[in-house]
């Protein structure tokens, strides 16, 4: 995987609502820019690209727990705008199958869509300056790093960076309570156990991450690096394949049609 599918219940309302709104606005802007003639030619292609991305996600790679998304490749072939549209469709459909929450489909779309958009622009800039395969690798790596950073920022900022460092004892629980109040979220209590001690009563924002403990991040980081490497390798190999078979599609491409958006 090149990113984690955010599930429902992790982010606070304002984050996922904002994500939905932002994705919707970007989608409308892209659609508005399509000319009527482009609609006939491009819409089937976007649908097929989205189907291709969905199928790619089910390709087994072996023992490692990652799958490809090829969002950057789709951005390279279709252009940033249509690549983003394909990502919208992919994320909505994935949400229906439980890969990622339905409330956070906007955020997931922005994260995955950023790969398609950034990858597309980066490739256009780089492919005239360095070898196409190298341009593909760099585009993928850079855009995945950006999308991962975006996800970390979104998830991390719901906790507050200052609270991300490990604390100890009661001080941490007071800090938890204060943070909970500051963000306007009431502490969670388990009503079935009214007499549980302080530690258990310490607020837990079940829809916001309070603490990013470094012990969990090491493993995650390793998985992400492996995912980026796999995605970059696969994209570069596919681009290389295309250069032999259909170079017209990737050589300094602006997308498949002359007015690639």
């Amino acid at each position: 995987m090149s990113h984690i599918h955010l599930p429902d219940g992790v982010l606070p309302f304002y984050w996922w609502a904002a994500g939905m709104a932002a994705s919707f606005i970007i989608t409308l802007v892209v659609l508005k820019r399509l000319k009527p003639e482009d609609v006939r030619r491009r819409i089937p292609f976007v649908g097929i690209l989205a189907a291709f991305m969905l199928i790619t996600m089910s390709v087994p790679l072996g023992i490692i727990p990652v799958h490809l998304s090829l969002a950057v490749l789709c951005g390279i072939l279709a252009g940033p705008g249509l690549g983003f549209l394909a990502v919208v469709v992919v994320n909505v459909m994935l949400a229906f199958f439980g890969h990622g929450g339905i409330t956070v489909v906007g955020i997931n779309t922005l994260i995955l869509g950023s790969e398609a958009v950034i990858g597309s622009y980066l490739y256009r800039i780089l492919c005239g300056r360095i070898r196409n395969t190298a341009a593909a690798v760099l585009s993928v790596a850079a855009s995945l790093l950006v999308s991962t950073a975006l996800m970390v920022v979104i998830v991390g900022s719901t906790a507050g960076i200052a609270e991300a460092l490990p604390h100890s004892g009661g001080h941490s629980e007071e800090a938890h309570m204060e943070t909970g109040t500051e963000t306007g979220e009431a502490p969670v209590t388990d009503e079935s156990e009214p007499n549980v001690g302080d530690e258990a009563k310490a607020h837990i924002g079940v829809d916001s991450l309070r603490y990013l403990l470094f012990s969990g991040w090491g493993a995650l980081f390793a998985i992400y690096i492996a995912g980026i490497a796999v995605e970059a390798a696969a994209t570069a190999l596919v681009v290389n394949f295309f250069l032999k078979v259909r170079p017209d599609l990737v050589m300094g491409s602006k997308g498949l049609t002359s007015s690639g958006n």
Binding site: G9, L34, G47, F96, F97, E191, A200, A202, G216
Partner: protein, 237 residues
């Protein structure tokens, strides 16, 4: 691919949920998810998850397939739950139950409602071009997945896939994906030609659902309202 199984379940089921009006099911799903997202009580979340599972059982669909799909939200939410675990087991459990509950509610919807009805509903408020992309994607998935399966079989039969050889797999998979992608591009060109000939200009007309509401629809709607109310109001006895 799960899509084919889910599509088959939705189109061939005979339960009261399959017969219910799509609008009432969508409304019910929306309220259940709202209840899941708003509530923070693990007991209530667990009860709601149990209700959803019971409804899945009543739908008569394959629980094996549906529970298999439940693994994904459990896995992804576990990552976030693991971080919360150090604070409280309940917090961690709540994250997992929320993610799983929301996903299972959606699976309940799509395993009992034809995708055509769902897209018809989406067409009420989404731009028509986006709905068209959804329809093209759905159609293309079935076409491409057959090709993908044949290519995977071919690779495996020719010794091109080994569970422990990552780089080897990536190389062969990339080649296969390249072939599939070229096929996609050719297919889209052919589709473009035939759709132009049939006058496509940005809107696939869909027959809107005109079924009247039945008692089961009112039951689902009222039930969903009760669930939402029960989830968000801090009842105390």
């Amino acid at each position: 691919m799960h899509l084919a199984e889910l599509d088959h379940m939705a189109g061939n089921g005979e339960s009261f949920l399959h017969r219910a009006n799509p609008l009432s099911k969508i409304f019910m799903t929306a309220l259940i998810i709202a209840g899941i997202v708003i509530s923070r009580d693990t007991a209530r979340l667990s009860a709601l998850l149990a209700i959803i599972m019971a409804m899945l059982l009543l739908s008569g669909n394959s629980m094996k397939e549906l529970l298999h799909l439940a693994v994904y939200p459990v896995f992804f939410s576990s990552i976030f739950a693991a971080i919360q675990l150090q604070q409280s087991i309940q917090a961690a459990l709540a994250i997992i139950i929320k993610a799983t509950g929301a996903s299972m509610a959606l699976l309940l919807l799509i395993s009992t409602t034809s995708y055509v009805d769902i897209f018809s509903f989406l067409s009420l408020f989404l731009p028509s071009i986006l709905v068209d992309i959804f329809l093209f994607t759905y159609r293309s998935l079935f076409i491409l997945f057959d090709k993908f399966e044949n290519l995977m079989k071919s690779i495996k039969l020719k010794g091109g896939f080994h569970p422990l050889r990552l780089l080897f797999n990536i190389k062969n998979t990339a080649g296969m994906l390249g072939v599939l992608l070229i096929h996609c591009i050719d297919m889209s060109e052919r589709m473009y030609r035939v759709y132009s000939l049939r006058g496509y200009n940005g809107r696939i007309p869909l027959v809107k659902n005109s079924r009247s509401l039945k008692p089961v629809d009112f039951m689902l709607t009222v039930g969903a309202i009760i669930i939402l109310t029960g989830m968000v109001i801090p009842w105390s006895l």
